[in-house]
Amino acid sequence: MSDLKKIKDEFLLKLNENLNFNEINEIKSKLFGKNGLISSQFKKISSINEEERKKFASDLNIIKDELLELIDTKINRIKNSEINEKLEKEKIDVTLPERSFVRGKIHPVSQTIDEISSIFSEIGFSVEEGPDVENEYNNFTALNTPDNHPARDMHDTFYLDKKKEKLLRTHTSPVQIRTMLKDKPPFKIIAPGRTYRSDSDQTHSPMFHQVEGLHIDKNINMGHLKGCLNYFIKEFFEVNKIKMRFRPSHFPFTEPSAEVDIGYEMKDGKIVIGEGNQWLEILGCGMVHPNVLKNVKVDPSKFQGYAFGIGIDRLAMLKYGIHDLRAFFDCDFRWLNHFGFDPLDVPTNYRGLSR
């Protein structure tokens, strides 16, 4: 009995000293090793007389638990502090740059085309395409612009042959012809794409982009044309109000024809669309000329409708504050990075055209 207490008191005292891992282990084996002090006490149990045995065993177990717990706690504490010490040594500077990544971008013209398609999709237009190289007939003659018509001078055309039969399309309007020859009315299409005119200066590029629109059905009139464009411009510039002006003009393939201006003002050197008293021409349009319909075998007494052509590059410039048209095609890394869009920024109806 006094043995047990002695062991207990002695070792509790010892264990409360500042011990390292090995010293604790030493104590542990001294107590609980094969011939350890506690272990040998257990061996004694059987030799103790019956009446004392029970109490002895109970006391021994309590002392064992107490000592063992203290030892384990001490060991854990030392282990933990060793890990912490090790982790402290592994500390790194997390302000160093991450592994490199590169970001691709979508060209503003491509983004604008997607925006335009998204807007017209909502009101039932589908996208058509045509080739960049056109024949003279589709580009001019079928569009009511015969060979000796002065309106041809409005287009400085790139030709691919001396006879001037093959050319780079000067507008997206030949897609009207191709679409109407291919199918039967009604037609409700837009056709974005590359167009070409041999004109090159600060505000003209020999290649630019247009989107053609065509809506032919029964009873489509100029009110529908105005409504469609009003809707488009509002959606495109993401404004609630738009000031729009239809001016009479002349295109051989539409009659009556109009040019459309939108109101704007300058605020802090930036164009604000939809307000102000200045006018900006942004597109040409009109009711498809009966001669054009006849050329594509659509009966003008049964079907009629409108067409329009919008400069895509110009729309992009206005919306995104780009000043120089030539830069669109100059491929300057810095420019592409600055004006380009993240590929994940896909214009959609539900999420909106732009962030």
Partner: protein, 801 residues
């Protein structure tokens, strides 16, 4: 077309102001391009007096003048005119003024070391006359006006209109006035023009040859004898100057005035220089003449010429010749007023590359009934200003002009415009525009005015009515949000998908021109021939591109020169294979240069290589929905790729057209175009060679089926001849048992020590898993043996023990 409000008021009575005018012009389709205040500019020109002249210290012919310009201080002006002398009253232009003739803006400048504050002007510099010898000399009357502006204040602004090609009638002030009056802007004034009253016969014989394609149908003329050509009177000069024209001499000025006023081009010949008579005929091939622009023109057969018995005098409706031109000493004039066919004028001018005011008007269509009006008006003015005797008018004709009549269904107006106006309003508008209207039940029978060649059918009438009644009357009909057809078709969707897939791999999208420099194109054209543009913008943009690489490399090179090294750019667009519509393909083309992980503190930097670019291509195609397991690659690539470091990818082994090329750009090309980069890799994906799946996304998702049975990985190392492709080994393995082999991965390629020369070691890890059970050692051993046998048999490889 340049006009002034003043001139308009010769034809239009209106109470509106110029500001309203500008709006109204635009509203009726006569677009105002610009408004220029002539006065604000000209106000600067002051009446001045030379007080003192001294010889220029450094130049014999120059003088330094002290000039009184009405201010306290005299201005020092350097002047080279011989008539600059003390006491002369002249016209002074200060720095800041723009000289009308040369359009140059004056600045204070040192002339041979002496500062000149402005300039003393000659009459020609001010477009007052042709007198360019010496500075303007004003009479002593002007003494009191020193310091005042020389030009009178009454000048109204110069309004420049952009007249659409369908409206030749508005190339005359009167036509514009008529349109304005019809739109309610005022009242068109009736002209009470005097007519020639003469008993003298026109003695110069005029004949129009009756031949096929005669470009002249009517030729009116009169002779004016004993004239004294002179400077124009001030009113006439001012009128021309006010619209930016330069006065020349009375006769020329009068013909110009009549042309601008009523759009009736005229031509005045020196009658004494005409040999016997006028013959209007088709030219013979090779005929030549010197035109008033002092150029010699060689004519083709069949151009409409005005000639005499000696040869060509002028090109009908385009330009006169120097041989019969009027001069200041001209005594007898033949005045021509004719009708030339628009197409004839246009064809001739186009062939000779000639552009004149007369051509511009005739090719659009001149009022055939204005021939006599023009002669009356011009001849009487010439007589008034230059004196002389006018003959009777002579008219020669070979054809008649049909009067156009249109039966107009008044319902068409609302059907097209979407709004209503009354028939009486229609009649009012049309009558004001010069139509004769007759009501017939629901139709209007309309006689089209002769000055409107653009009107020939009902829709033209609708346009007139909408235009004049006002586009603002068109009411908006909002569009219905309804879609009956998908917006994009499959290949358009693929286009957009690939565009964004490539961009998401770190490539910047570029858009470059569809044409390119033949010197660049030749490197990338493969089997294609040059597709030349007949009239390129410049010789280095002379061909349609056969490949996007030419432009991309050009721009890549420019960016590298800007100091950027690690660049990835791409373009999606057309390349051309021929000059017929449709001979084009859509290609995604990318370029990547420089290094990966340049200057990284953590990653090892290395040059971009083939397997970077191959990953971009393969990942893009996999993302677009193509099956990776079926891809087949070989190294048969076009000659602009490095022959050893480039590949060709097929969607599957049975395809005949490659889906893509990828690899290093051929080093020789880099050398030739002198592009400085550590590495340049490129790829091309051919959209037209990609199969479009007709399955929707929902149908592409097959039944979800995975195995939870244990999988095991086995590694194999084979030695094989160097020219055997890793792909062959992989194919051999996958062919053994598609059900059990779920993944094959090449993880090491080794040449060198312990491997025989001309051989390499390829190590492959194969994942084996069954859908039905856990495979036991025996099953696995069987597959192992199958794999080894298959690879050894199909590729000649040997398993390394």
């Amino acid at each position: 077309m340049k006009i002034t409000f003043d001139w308009l008021q010769d034809h239009l009575k209106t109470n509106f102001k110029e500001k309203n005018l500008l709006e109204q012009l635009t509203n009726i389709g006569l677009e105002v391009e610009s408004v220029e205040s002539l006065f604000a500019e000209n106000e600067l020109f002051k009446i001045a007096k030379i007080v003192k002249t001294e010889k220029h210290p450094n130049a014999d012919r120059l003088k330094v003048c002290d000039v009184n310009v009405g201010e306290r201080e005299l201005k020092k002006v350097v002047c080279g005119a011989s008539n600059a002398k003390e006491g002369l009253i002249t016209i002074y232009a200060p720095p800041g003024a723009t000289i009308p003739k040369t359009k140059t803006k004056l600045v204070t400048a040192k002339i041979r070391g002496v500062t000149s504050h402005g300039m003393l002007c000659s009459e020609s510099e001010l477009n007052l006359s042709d007198e360019g010898d010496g500075i303007t000399e004003l009479s002593s009357k002007y003494e009191k006006k020193i310091g005042k502006s020389f030009f009178s204040k009454s000048k109204s602004n110069l309004i420049d209109l952009s007249i659409t090609p369908n409206r030749p009638d508005c190339l005359g002030i009167r036509g514009i006035a008529r349109d304005l009056a019809a739109s309610g802007f005022g009242k068109l004034l009736e002209l009470k023009e005097k007519k020639i009253q003469s008993k003298i016969k026109q003695t110069l014989k005029v004949k129009i040859n009756k031949e096929k394609n005669q470009g002249c149908s009517t030729f009116g003329s009169c002779l004016i004898t004993n004239v004294k050509n002179t400077e124009s009177p001030k009113w006439l000069k001012n009128k021309l100057i006010s619209v930016g024209q330069k006065p020349i001499s009375a006769i020329v000025d009068i013909t110009n005035y009549v042309m601008l006023d009523i759009n009736r081009p005229l031509h005045a010949y020196d009658a004494d220089k005409i040999e016997k008579g006028i013959i209007v005929r088709n030219s013979n091939s090779g005929e030549e003449f010197i035109a008033l622009d002092n150029k010699n023109y060689k004519l083709e057969k069949g151009m409409c010429v005005i000639s005499d018995y000696k040869g060509v005098l002028g090109l009908g409706g385009i330009i006169g010749g120097t041989r019969s031109g009027t001069e200041l000493n001209t005594k007898n004039i033949l005045l021509e007023s004719a009708y030339f066919e628009p197409s004839s004028v246009r064809n001739t001018a186009k062939k000779l590359n000639l552009d004149t005011d007369a051509k511009f008007r005739f090719e659009r269509g001149i009022d055939p009934l204005s021939i006599e009006d023009g002669l009356h008006k011009a001849a009487l003015l010439i007589k008034e200003i230059c004196g002389g005797e006018i003959s009777k008018i002579d008219i020669q004709k070979v054809g008649t002009h049909k009067i156009k009549v249109i039966k107009f269904d008044t319902n068409l107006f609302e059907s097209i415009s979407g709004y209503k106006i009354s028939v009486s309003e229609m009649i009012k508008i049309l009558e004001n525009l010069g139509f004769k209207c007759k009501k017939e039940k629901k139709y209007l029978k309309l006689t089209v005015p002769t000055w409107r060649p653009d009107i020939s059918q009902e829709i033209d009438i609708v346009e007139e009515l909408v235009r004049i009644s006002g586009y603002d009357k068109i009411k908006i009909t909002n569009p219905i949000k309804e879609r009956n057809k998908s917006t994009l078709n499959k290949s358009q969707k693929l286009f957009h998908f690939l565009q964004r897939a490539v961009a998401s791999k770190g490539y910047l999208e570029a858009i470059t021109w569809s044409f390119t420099d033949a010197n660049y194109n030749m490197h990338f054209q493969g089997e294609n021939k040059n597709i030349e543009i007949i009239n390129p913008i410049s010789s280095d943009l002379g061909v349609l591109r056969n490949s996007i690489f030419s432009n991309l490399i050009m721009h890549m090179s420019k960016n590298l020169d800007r100091g950027f090294k690690d660049l990835s750019i791409f373009e999606i667009g057309p390349v051309f294979t021929g000059k017929n519509p449709g001979e084009q393909n859509t290609v995604v083309c990318g370029l990547s240069s420089g290094k990966k992980s340049r200057l990284s503190w953590i990653e090892k930097e290395r040059e971009v290589d083939v397997f970077d670019i191959k990953r971009d291509v393969v990942q893009t195609l996999v993302e677009a929905g193509y099956n990776y397991d079926e891809f087949f690659v070989d190294n048969d690539t076009p000659n602009y790729y490095h022959p050893g470091k480039s590949g060709r990818l097929f969607l599957n082994k049975n395809e005949s057209q490659a889906a893509a090329f990828f690899g290093e750009i051929h080093p020789n090309i880099l050398k030739k175009i002198d592009i400085k980069t550590e590495s340049l890799l490129g790829f091309e994906i051919f959209l037209d060679n990609l199969k479009i799946s007709n399955k929707n996304l929902k149908n592409q998702k097959i039944k979800f089926n995975v195995s939870d049975f244990q999988k095991s990985e086995r590694d194999f190392a084979f030695t094989v001849n160097k020219d055997v492709k890793a792909q062959d080994l992989v194919n051999a393995i996958s062919s053994t048992n598609k059900n059990l082999i779920s993944n094959i991965k090449v993880f090491d390629v080794y040449e060198g020590q312990n491997i025989p020369e001309n051989q390499k070691s390829i190590a492959i890890s194969v994942t084996i898993q069954s859908n039905e059970k856990t495979l036991n050692e025996n099953d696995l051993e069987n597959i192992n043996n199958l794999i080894i046998k298959a690879v050894e048999n199909k590729t000649g490889a040997k398993i390394r023990s």
